[in-house]
Point group: C2
Chain length 214, copies 2
Amino acid sequence: MKNKISNAVLMRLPRYYRYLSDLLKNGEDRISSKKLSEIMGLTASQVRQDLNHFGEFGLQGYGYNIQFLKNEIGKVMGIDHPNSMVLLGYGNLAHSIIKYSGFKSKGFTIKAVFDRSNKKCGTYIDGIPILPLNELEDYINNNDINIIIVTIPKDAAQNIISNLKVSKKIGIWNFASTDLKTPSNFVVENVHLSESLMRLTYKLWGENKIQKRS
Amino acid sequence: MKNKISNAVLMRLPRYYRYLSDLLKNGEDRISSKKLSEIMGLTASQVRQDLNHFGEFGLQGYGYNIQFLKNEIGKVMGIDHPNSMVLLGYGNLAHSIIKYSGFKSKGFTIKAVFDRSNKKCGTYIDGIPILPLNELEDYINNNDINIIIVTIPKDAAQNIISNLKVSKKIGIWNFASTDLKTPSNFVVENVHLSESLMRLTYKLWGENKIQKRS
């Protein structure tokens, strides 16, 4: 077994998790690698290879136990831990993240929102307090927070993260359009929406161009 | 020159574009592959290899012309075209996409929002009309629309997309938590936020687990 899951497999695991969740909801309890590969658009050998990375889930000719496989992938992906989050900035994007229900069912809780605007501070949104930015560091250190969701502009974001004195492991879910420089106890996952949109326009316009040039 | 850019390079090109844009804003006009590789966290040979995919940009020992390189990447990525979009669904996420200013500067325009709620239809948000869902197909066919942003739940999304009779090439920017089945003239780019969050918790908790198991 490999020590570390490759990036390509890591990109696919949440998709497996999503499909397995859907299968469970539809009342299925077992699935063959062949069937799973068909609904996911992969080859059966790819599926077997991916799932072998972290244990012997499948029984030859008998298929995978969906609930067990889902749980194991959930454990590997770290969502069996309670994940407590704070939001950095309270704007439109932060608002839509708070309103999105898909995280709660996976054990993600938003505990507080931090904003530099004095007007917003002291109020609540869906029961979540909006607190002043200068309380962020104490709040993270004194509460069981392990994820910071960054929804403020890039320069402000980098400034705040650079000055944060926190010694535990912290995950940054970064929506700011920059690659944040962070201390070594921080890990970062970026959601760069503009880049995603550019990948779409590449699929729309770019592929033809490259072919014309050759 | 290759006919098709690999997925790994495609994932990096928008990042090049972002860094080159920042360099231009800072008044820079030329950059060496070495310098560019340092700020992007890649090797210089990786940068040269990536940028060689679609033309001879660099002059040995003289570096890249930043404006030219940015324009060329923009062309390859298809953002030199005007990209006109409609939003499917008017909820919190759609609202934050409308309010986000980062797209406009890259030539992306949201022309209309389609919602099934009769209450919302006929109103405007930031000058963008909210129209009834049953006008979506005609609107796309009669206007120069090439991107549909999907922000409605997955079953409704699949249902609408499946029944859409549009013959031109369409890009779907999909925020619904599903892999949409689309006609062959559609291309899809997914933003699966729950999956992104799972990759973050993997970095937080999962990597250690895999190592402990071995």
